[in-house]
Subunit: 227 residues, 2 copies
């Protein structure tokens, strides 16, 4: 469902060029659960942003569910981002002046879902990540790991077929982290495709496959034997 060919992403600053992605090619089958690892600064977020249709590569092609993404109109891209894809950001990107519940309702609000259904579904999603008693807290009234879980709940609310998660357990203790992994594995068993960046090997081992990056390149691609 995901195929990339010779992706490059450069940032030019004055007379230096940062090669954030330096020729990346791979495919991910529908329904696969993949972990992405690699050192800080190796290009993981840059790659995830391109896969999530949030940014474009400098050169190279990306096919999503058979469509060449560079050929999609802005309107088609917006539809993909809102309905096909759920994105958990490394820095959460929550609305600072809105409660956890309003933050999670946002994708449903844009879809024109009726208020009573929005509220019910947002509260279910928050309860599923252990925040059943935090609906009305705003981000600055939540712990770091609680904000992270609001970001996860918001990404999953539309039950998107593809989930991109950038360090979803970076601020979570092992029990909370395992409960998020259980949530992801349940979605995986239902057929969702999951691409998750993590720096923790124990979290990566919940996936079927680990792709490791260094200096903007894919250096190892390992398939794990799941029990």
């Amino acid at each position: 469902v995901i195929r990339v060919d010779e992706l490059h992403k450069h940032f030019t600053m004055g007379d230096t060029t940062v090669r954030a992605l330096d020729g990346v090619s791979f495919t991910i089958a529908k329904g696969c659960f993949v972990a992405i690892m690699g050192p800080s600064g190796s290009g993981k977020t840059t790659l995830l942003d391109i896969l999530g249709c949030l940014s474009r590569p400098t050169t190279g092609e990306y096919w999503l569910a058979g469509d060449k993404v560079s050929n999609l109109s802005d309107r088609q891209l917006a539809r993909v981002r809102n309905h096909e894809i759920g994105f958990v950001f490394q820095n959460f990107n929550l609305l600072a002046r809105s409660s956890a519940q309003v933050n999670v309702e946002l994708p449903l609000f844009y879809d024109g879902v009726a208020r009573r259904d929005r509220t019910r579904r947002a509260r279910e999603a928050l309860t599923a990540v252990g925040l059943g008693d935090r609906f009305h807290h705003c981000p600055n009234e939540l712990s770091g790991g609680q904000r992270q879980r609001v970001a996860i709940a918001r990404a999953l609310i539309n039950s998107p077929s593809i989930i991109f998660a950038d360090e979803p357990t970076g601020n979570l203790d092992s029990a909370s982290g395992n409960s998020i992994m259980k949530l992801f594995k349940d979605l995986h068993e239902k057929g969702h495709t999951i691409v998750m960046v993590t720096h923790e090997r124990e979290i990566a081992e919940h996936a079927e496959r680990i792709m490791s990056f260094r200096d903007g390149r894919l250096v190892t691609d390992e398939w794990l034997h799941q029990n």
Copy 2:
């Protein structure tokens, strides 16, 4: 050098009260390296903010280097915060429109340090955390782990005697995380006191002592045998 007695911190929201800290007492000797662990939402950041003189408890007392913190004037508190304490925030708190170098120079700028010295020292601090080629990048031009390392460099620039670090390796791969731990251990050997929140046991084991929290209370206090 740090002593707390029956610390309580409540947040009242409408008719519910969140007991973020529910009666915490302990002492930390000068020059000790302590790790703080516990589930998401257990009160770790709330505690660290009080120890770092960034917030006040609802009830209870805190003595820092012999002074009762509740008796210090705003001016004395500001001096302590700027010179005695270095604080690495869980969400970094960087200036979004300033480069890595300017962010790290900030404490020196407030101290009236001459520009040439500020620049030299900020660049040394950034190089020590592996960002020698990122001086002029702004936070949105840096990876998550790079922003985290800018926050660490800024906290250490004044060589403060007490360092508080809230999840300093949450966004770092194991190699970068280990290199930050090496930096902390070097400072510890020079006599600095370090109090570090982490959710990763392997990181916590670099410390001499691990205090574990749950629901706003200290539940275990273990001394590790260092090799």
